[in-house]
């Protein structure tokens, strides 16, 4: 039992990035760009992971591509373009703002605005309306009532 727990603990603490290969970079700046790029690109096989996180074969190949292009002196935008041309905007965790993505980008704000307007209108409707002013006859009656009750209480 003890050994079982120890074994389980060992398994749980094994590095989860076992599939991420070690790479050599001529300078730390390039390494930082590499790290940044693979973190903002999505793996197509395991769709909720970035290229940096994924152990999928394809992710490894695509990391290779990114690495080779970086060493070849390509700019970040060129590397991202290379992948978008092949896999579409889907590879980007942050899709570009264009007509087909308007709903995605602005939809939540539109929904929030709509909800706000609705809430405001409902709130306004629920507020009790101030009663109409009393006519002279009513006022006299009121005064009389108050006086009568006042003397009752005393």
């Amino acid at each position: 039992m003890k050994w079982g727990i120890a074994l389980l603990a060992l398994i749980l603490t094994l590095p989860t990035s076992a599939g991420i290969e070690v790479r050599q970079f001529p300078n730390p700046e390039l390494e930082a760009r590499y790290q940044h790029l693979i973190e903002q690109l999505r793996c197509l096989v395991c769709q909720n992971q970035s290229l940096a996180d994924s152990n999928a074969d394809l992710a490894e190949d695509l990391r290779d591509e990114v690495y080779t292009m970086l060493l070849a002196g390509k700019r970040d935008a060129e590397i991202v373009d290379f992948l978008v041309q092949r896999y579409g905007d889907f590879v980007l965790y942050k899709p570009p703002v264009k007509k087909t993505t308007w709903l995605l980008w602005f939809g939540p704000f539109a929904a929030l605005g709509l909800g706000g307007i609705l809430l405001w209108r409902i709130g306004r409707k629920r507020r009790p309306e101030p009663p109409p002013p009393l006519s002279d006859a009513e006022r006299r009656r009121l005064e009389k009532l108050l006086q009568d009750h006042g003397s009752d209480d005393a």
Binding site: L44, V45, Q47, L58, D61, L62, R86, Y87
Partner: protein, 176 residues
Amino acid sequence: MLKYLLPLGLFAALLILLGVGLTLNPREVPSPLVGRPAPTFTLPRLDDPETPFDSAERLRGRVSLFNVWASWCVACRQEHPFLMQLARQGVTIYGLDYKDTREAGLQWIERLGNPYRAVAFDTDGKVAIDWGVYGVPETFVIDKQGVIRYKHIGPITPKDWEEKLGPLVAYLEKQP
């Protein structure tokens, strides 16, 4: 009346939206290559390393299917008999053996039959990346001008063929 109809209507709209969302397959990522000329490449043929498979020459002039497969891929095995059937019907199919060993690829063809007119051997998967392949099997429909007209992800089933690929191929055959 409107007071009750409005929330009900909104709820129904949301229900429809979510319902449609459930029927979509998130694994099917639309390819930006559809409507564009097929990426060109030259690779050795699977059956003969000395003979090149030249895509610019092969993938034009007739409507063809370009099927990406691998001997290690289970879904490809499931798809294979149907590809054999299509080949018998006279459909032109080219293959791309993806990240495979030559030995295993050849064995597959030998044992299960060869539906392909020719197979290109993409051992490091670089050509597949150019084609935006992210899982095997994937099948591209190429028209006579060498333009990609459709991408099918996953094994082709007889239903897929009847509903989508078959009619498209028949239509493209009639085009100049």
